[in-house]
C-alpha cells in the first residue's frame, strides 16, 4: 500500500524515457544537446585519416620533413567549409547527397555520380584492407586470417540494427587516434620547426619537382575526399538531425576538422623521424619496423595498430557511404536503424563492398602501395566535380529557401575553394602532358 509520502516521491521521480534527458541550466542543456548531436562531423573527418592518409602523411614527412605542414593548415578551413555545406543540406532536406543529385540534376548526373563514387570507394577500400594485411603481417598474423576476420568484424559492426551502437563504437575508434600524439612525442619532434612550418609555407630542398606536386595533390585528395560529402549528408539524415541542431552540427564538424588536421600533423611528425634518420620506406608498416630499431618496439606496435585502426575506420565509413548512396538512388530502405531483414539491399551493398575489396587484397602480388597513392590522386581529380554539385545544390533557393541556401560570403569562399581544386587538377594534368615541365626529382 502506498503511503502519501511515497506517492509524492514517485511523482517527483522523473520517468526515464529513451533519448530524453533533463538539464538543470541553459549551459547544461546546450552541452547535452551537443553531445546528442555530435557524431557525424567527428566521424567523417577522422575516418578520412584512413590507411591511405597514414601512407600519404608519413610519406610527406619522410620525403620532405616538416616542409608540407602548412598544406594541412591550409586544408583545415577548406574541409570545414565543404563539410558544413553537406551538414546543412542534410539537415534541411533529411535526404542523402546521392538522392539530391538524382532528383535535382536528373538521371544522367545521378548515375554518373553514383558510379563515380562506387569506383573511387571500391579502390579506396582495397587500400584499407591492404593496410590491414600489411600491418598485421608485420605482427605475425597471416593475411588469410587478418583480412577475412576484419571483413566479418566490419559487417558485424553495422548489422546490429542500431545507429547509436554503431556511432558510439566508431567515435571510440576515432578517439583512439589521440595515440598519434603520443607516438609523435616519442620520436622527439622539432616542435619549434613544426610550429614555424605549419604557418609559414616553405620550399623543400630541390624546389618544385614532379614528386612534390603529386604528393601535394595526394594530400589534398586524401584530406578532402568525395565519399565524405555523401557520407556526412546521409549520416545526418539517418540520425534525423533537426533544423535547430544545425549550429551543433557545425561545431561537431569544426571540432572534427581540427582534430583530424592535428592527427594528420602528428603522422607527418612521425614521418619526419624517418626523414631525420635517412630511412626510406614504401609503406607505413615498413616505416614502423625501421623506426623500431631506433625508438623501440612500443613505437613499432603503436604505428601498426593505429594503421589498422585507421583502415577499419575508413572501411566502415566508405562502405556506408556506398550503401547509403545506392539505397537512396534505388529507393531501398537504407538506414542503420533497420535490421538486416528490414533493409536487405542496404546491408548487401555494404557487405559486397567489404568482401570484394578484401578479396582483391588476398590476390598475390597486387601492387598495393602504388594503388594507395593512385587512389588519392584519383580522388583529387574527381573531387572538383563533386564540390560543383554541392555548390549548385546549396544555391537552390527553390528547394532550400533563404534560410539554408548559401549566403554571398559562402559563395565567395566556396568558389575560391573550387578554383583552387581545379587549379590543382590542372597542374596534375600539365604534369601528365608535359612531364618535363618540372624536374622529376
Amino acid at each position: 500500500m502506498l503511503t502519501r509520502d511515497r506517492v509524492v516521491r514517485l511523482r517527483e521521480t522523473p520517468v526515464p524515457v529513451p533519448g530524453r534527458r533533463v538539464a538543470r541550466s541553459p549551459r547544461a542543456r546546450s552541452f547535452l544537446t551537443f553531445m546528442m548531436v555530435m557524431g557525424p562531423g567527428l566521424i567523417v573527418m577522422e575516418a578520412d585519416n584512413d590507411a591511405g592518409a597514414v601512407q600519404t602523411y608519413t610519406q610527406a614527412g619522410a620525403q620532405y620533413g616538416l616542409h608540407l605542414l602548412w598544406v594541412l593548415l591550409l586544408l583545415l578551413p577548406i574541409c570545414y567549409f565543404i563539410q558544413e555545406m553537406v551538414a546543412r543540406l542534410g539537415i534541411a532536406t533529411g535526404q542523402g547527397h546521392a538522392a539530391m543529385i538524382y532528383q535535382r540534376f536528373g538521371k544522367w548526373w545521378g548515375v554518373f555520380s553514383l558510379l563515380d563514387l562506387q569506383l573511387v570507394n571500391f579502390l579506396t577500400l582495397v587500400t584499407e584492407f591492404a593496410a590491414i594485411s600489411l600491418a598485421l603481417s608485420k605482427m605475425g598474423v597471416s593475411p588469410y586470417i587478418s583480412v577475412p576476420s576484419a571483413a566479418v568484424g566490419l559487417i558485424a559492426l553495422v548489422a546490429t540494427g542500431s545507429y547509436l551502437r554503431w556511432e558510439r563504437i566508431v567515435i571510440t575508434l576515432c578517439l583512439i587516434d589521440v595515440a598519434w600524439f603520443a607516438l609523435s612525442a616519442i620520436v622527439g619532434p622539432r616542435w619549434g620547426a613544426a610550429a614555424f612550418n605549419a604557418v609559414v609555407p616553405s620550399m623543400p630542398k630541390g624546389g618544385i619537382t614532379t614528386s612534390l606536386v603529386f604528393l601535394v595533390i595526394a594530400i589534398v585528395g586524401t584530406t578532402i575526399a568525395p565519399w565524405q560529402l555523401f557520407f556526412q549528408q546521409s549520416c545526418v539524415a539517418d540520425k534525423k538531425l533537426r533544423f535547430a541542431d544545425l549550429k551543433w552540427a557545425r561545431l561537431d564538424t569544426f571540432i572534427g576538422a581540427c582534430f583530424t588536421i592535428l592527427v594528420a600533423g602528428a603522422m607527418m611528425l612521425v614521418g619526419d623521424a624517418a626523414f631525420r634518420h635517412g630511412l626510406k620506406f614504401s609503406d607505413p608498416a615498413q616505416m614502423a619496423s625501421d623506426l623500431a630499431g631506433i625508438y623501440g618496439p612500443f613505437l613499432r606496435n603503436g604505428i601498426l595498430l593505429l594503421f589498422v585502426n585507421a583502415a577499419v575506420l575508413g572501411t566502415t565509413a566508405i562502405s556506408l557511404s556506398s550503401a547509403w548512396a545506392y539505397g537512396e538512388v534505388k529507393q531501398w530502405p537504407h538506414s542503420l536503424h533497420k535490421s538486416v531483414i528490414e533493409a536487405p539491399g542496404f546491408y548487401a551493398v555494404y557487405a559486397l563492398c567489404v568482401f570484394a575489396a578484401a578479396g582483391v587484397v588476398l590476390i598475390p602480388r597486387a601492387p598495393l602501395p602504388l594503388i594507395i597513392l593512385g587512389v588519392q590522386v584519383l580522388a583529387g581529380l574527381i573531387l572538383p566535380s563533386a564540390v560543383i554539385f554541392l555548390q549548385l545544390l546549396l544555391n537552390d533557393r527553390e528547394l532550400l529557401g533563404e534560410r539554408f541556401s548559401n549566403k554571398p560570403w559562402n559563395n565567395y569562399v566556396n568558389w575560391t575553394i573550387i578554383v583552387l581544386l581545379f587549379a590543382l587538377s590542372l597542374v596534375l594534368a600539365a604534369q601528365v602532358v608535359l612531364p618535363n615541365l618540372v624536374p622529376a626529382t
Binding site: G19, F422, S425, V432, V433
Partner: protein, 75 residues
Amino acid sequence: MQQVLLPNNVNRFEVVHPIYDAPELKCDPSDLGPMKMSKSVRFSLLALRGYLAVMGLMLGYHMLDLAGAFGTHLK
C-alpha cells in the same frame, strides 16, 4: 527541437535526442522535379562535362604510360 521548460520547474529543461524526437517537415525536392537550368547552372554543368572528359583521357593516358604500354616510359 524539443527543449521544453518542464512545468513547475523553472530551472529544468528537457533535451530530446534527435533519433527519438518528432519528425520535422523537411525541404522536400520530390515535388519540384529537376533543377531549373539557369545560365549559371547550365554553364557549370557544361564546364564539368568538358573537365571530366579531358581529365579522364589524361588520367587514362598516364596510367597506360606508367604501366609501360607505350614501350619506354616518358620520364
